[in-house]
């Protein structure tokens, strides 16, 4: 099973590398898929205990969903704020309400992120943790970049 997963992940990574080298623009979705495939491959290789491996992979999938949701939130936030700011007659109360709503969403995301982090730490040994933490890839950095760039 692990061998099959590794082959699938390798093919995804290979597709990503070919797309990059061909000079074709790579979408954020493709970059993100490649980054998480890369991370999953590192987990599959590093965490050999089946139960813990499944737990870590589940958390990684959940993180991918969280990144998608965050990106959508940031795009929506930008659009809503532009619209509100363009309105000469917008009131201070409307701005305060907007800021409060966004802060509330960020608060929820913060709690969720900390929980994911603690679950990950609980599911791995210290050696596995160190190995995964070192699994830095250009694709993973691009996820951070794409979220920052919104």
């Amino acid at each position: 099973m692990n061998r099959i997963l590794m082959i699938v992940f390798s093919l995804v990574l290979l597709s990503f590398a070919v797309a990059c080298s061909s000079g074709e623009p790579v979408s954020r979705e493709d970059q993100q898929a490649a980054a998480f495939a890369d991370l999953r491959a590192a987990v599959t290789e590093t965490v050999t205990d089946d139960d813990r491996q499944n737990e870590v992979l589940t958390i990684i999938s959940s993180l991918a969903t969280d990144v998608d949701e965050l990106r959508e939130l940031l795009v929506r936030r930008r659009t809503e704020l532009r619209k509100l700011n363009a309105d000469y007659d917008a009131t201070r109360e409307e701005f305060l309400e907007f800021a409060n709503q966004m802060e509330s969403r960020i608060q929820n995301g913060r709690r969720q992120a900390l929980q994911q982090h603690l679950r990950l730490a609980a599911a791995m040994t210290a050696d596995e943790w160190a190995a995964i933490e070192k699994a830095q890839t250009r694709a993973m950095r691009s996820i951070a970049g794409s979220v920052q760039g919104i």
């Binding site: 993180l63 939130l73 000469y88 701005f95 995301g109 913060r110 730490a121």
Partner: protein, 125 residues
Amino acid sequence: MIAALIAILFLGGGVDNSVLDYIAYMRGSVKEVVVDDERQADARATVQAMKKLTSAHTKGNQKAFKALVAEMSAMETDVEAVDDLWEEHFRAVEAYNEQMIDLRFELRETLTREEWEQMFGGSNE
């Protein structure tokens, strides 16, 4: 790298995208839009204050982000330290938002409706 990803999720968007950064939405410069010298000077001063505030806030965000990544990189995360970092960051965000709202309305008072349209109109696309 997971630590950086979690820190971004934790902060709700990383370090370079402040919630109320209106400067990013300006379509024209104050100099181009406001002809009246006195109001132009006032508006420029307000926009400059916004830029300065956003720049300082971004630096604070970067500091919080680095500190969080350091905490999240450790397996034995000090949850209390993370909470403290969050509280400090959140207070800074609240203060920034409040000041930016004040400055936004200061700028709005300085500009006419037409000038505002030229500066920020078409921003709702």
